[in-house]
Subunit: 423 residues, 2 copies
């Protein structure tokens, strides 16, 4: 566990108080604006460091990077260079941004390198190969089990023995800000004689964090828990939109399908594993003892504060949930070791989401299903509004950040508005 | 329904009797050999028509094709040109191969165009975006329900109302001939107190057919049953390897995961929808009536004979199952309409598999699970062998073809050998 103090750094870039994008963070993203074609940048404060311009100006001349590596519409090729290279690039940018470093600060290209974040359009940061969703919060799984199965035996027998997960749809993962139409589909409530078709009546979000794989394996190979972090490039916030009525009717016996695959939304800035290293913590203890291939020598949990707000159209946003990534029963190393223990191969740009991150208290539940307890307890919002599920026009906003010794590393936000169902 | 006789065609290429790759078929594939880099070809008899050479020699000069469109390691970019173009290309090749056509037959480049299939290595034909597996055979779903749930209520309540499906893993789909290591994983048989870890003891195949999408949609858009075939490029045989013991322990409540994602194997030649058009038949009647969005104006089933053989290492192959694609309760148009009715977007190169294709008789069951009835009835093979499930060294071979009026259109085969679990 990293208990050492974080060395204090200061930068010549003006970074607003409480910015997620401090000199300690430096996440990677893909952006464009009215003048600039898609390219890779690193966020700091309200600026984006345009890595392609830094490269053209010779700031990476000793790195032997492939030509045009930053003039891409996804991070995949950059990530494929390997962690040694991407770490060096991020460290070089950190060095260039230090208050005392004059290389970029006093360079004539500084204005061209530093792009305003406000004027940039963020793109989906990676071409996602396969997407997996885990179900790793014991509080979430227990809540769902209580509601839909047996309150006395809420967890299924396998839950504490393996990180339950399933394959999701990669094509419909979109970047923050992309509106989503309310899905239509089949549902059959217990009081209905026959299934009906129409817009979902119980639309929900799920508060999740997802990691992006940074190294591939061959079919047949496995990744151990101790190797797992070498295969993880970074993290994004993940809103796993869910249509509860469609899901309830379809999911037996093969799992969620149309109740989920109409859209998932991720935050645009990929926060590296290195950036959240100072916030590593011991995870929950696991009882019963897990099988050998799931045992970990070191902690793989991270203290990342999470929150969700709902903003009805034309009204103000209300925070409805505060949770933390450290609550997760199964950690990222266990997830990846389990996923590959049968020889399933991974590629650079695969996405593996945590599953809904709920805490123990009622205000830390990571979905409307839990917050409104299946719609029985409306959640109060500002302006006299209340919600059981998500309504048309609502924007759901998730935020995440780590803070320690006055140092902050955050994800920005992932937001998405729900539009009415299409005709 | 297409009841018209197929016009008789003859070709100057020598096509062995009972070849799947007749002048009526002309499937697309990607191949290389010792001398040739990956490229796209069309199979006929024991030959491959090298489309890149045809193109270089000007045989497609009026088509305005992008340069090098056939010098690719996947069909994706070719398929993306659209059905109008790919149909024209296939028809042009058919024309060039006709007995009476001298253009290619008497051309000096003929030797360079016609590559021996035996010397070619077939590659995975498409870069698969997302992979979905349906569960559309009523006989298979009923068998599984009888074995694991209630023999009196074998089908779950949703089964006849929607084509149940789930997302699978695209990364581990490999081309015919690729060996697969027996997966390791967790299992807990009913008589075990705790879960254990080790090589799967109940390894199985699933006989399936999969379609490849040929046209993309935008997030939020749907494809109706009447439009569906415009979005389908062609078909391959699909072996959905399954580890029954791993699957049984993990699959509740989110569906199959490690019991499936260690590998799926497809046949290399993509048989187009146009090629199987003459074999279109009316599918099973559906009762209860389906919801409007699942109704079809025209038949979307196809009479494709399917068979599975097991070949123990160093022994001869034994046919253990004969089935037919026409048995499927849910057809491809219903599958695609359902998949997109909630706005889920599709991309060129997505793969959608049928689920295990079982018939009504015991010799038509499409998996060992059903053929050996959960391992209780060993299946007899040649040479005194018998099998409950697949053993190390076994090769599973699936074949598929349509035949009518002496005209044959087939898939060739998909085969895969199971190697012992890795250490």
């Amino acid at each position: 566990m990293s208990e050492s103090a974080i060395p204090a750094l200061s930068t010549w870039v003006e970074v607003p108080k409480n910015s997620d994008f401090t000199i300690y963070n430096l996440p990677f993203g893909v952006f464009k604006n009215k003048k600039l074609s898609p390219r890779i940048g690193i966020a700091i404060g309200d600026k984006i460091v345009d890595l392609s311009v830094l490269d053209q100006e010779g700031f990476f001349s000793s790195f032997f990077l492939p030509e045009g590596i930053f003039l891409k519409d996804s991070l995949n090729e950059l990530i494929e260079l390997g962690k040694t290279q991407t770490k060096k690039i991020r460290e070089r940018v950190q060095q260039l941004l230090l208050a005392e470093n004059e290389e970029l600060r006093d360079h004539s290209a500084r204005g061209k390198v530093m792009v305003n974040r406000k004027e940039a359009e963020m793109l989906l940061p990676v071409k996602i190969g396969d997407y997996t969703d885990f179900y790793s919060s014991i509080e979430h799984a227990t809540n769902v089990g209580k509601m839909f199965r047996d309150p006395e035996n809420a967890l299924l027998p396998n839950w504490k023995h393996l990180p339950v997960g399933y394959h999701g749809r990669a094509s419909s993962i979109v970047v923050s800000g992309t509106p989503i139409h309310r899905p239509k589909g089949q549902f059959k409530d217990p009081d209905m004689e026959k299934p009906a078709f129409g817009p979902s009546r119980r639309l929900d979000f799920e508060l999740e964090l997802a990691f992006i794989t940074g190294k591939s394996t061959k079919l047949g190979d496995s990744v151990s828990t101790s190797e797992a972090e070498d295969y993880i490039f970074g993290f994004v916030l993940f809103n796993d939109w869910s249509a509860r009525d469609i899901q309830a009717w379809e999911y037996v016996p093969l799992g969620p399908f149309l109740g989920k695959n109409f859209g998932s939304t991720i935050s645009p800035w990929v926060v590296t594993l290195e950036a959240i290293e100072p916030f590593r913590v011991q995870g929950p203890s696991q009882d019963p003892e897990v099988l050998d291939y799931l045992k970990c020598e070191n902690p793989h949990s991270f203290d990342i504060q999470l929150e969700v707000a709902i903003q009805p159209e034309g009204k103000s946003a209300s925070k409805i949930c505060t949770s933390n990534f450290k609550y997760m029963y199964w950690n990222i190393a266990q997830q990846l070791a389990h996923h590959t223990v049968n020889g399933c191969n991974i590629n650079v740009g695969d996405m593996m989401a945590s599953g809904t991150i709920s805490g123990a208290t009622e205000d830390s539940f990571g979905s409307m299903l839990e917050l409104s307890w299946k719609g029985t307890r409306p959640v109060k919002l500002a302006d006299g509004e209340e919600r059981r599920f998500i309504e048309d026009g609502d924007t759901v906003i998730m935020k995440g950040f780590s803070e320690k010794d006055g140092i902050r590393v955050g994800f920005g936000e992932v937001s998405g508005q729900i539009l009415p169902a299409k005709n």
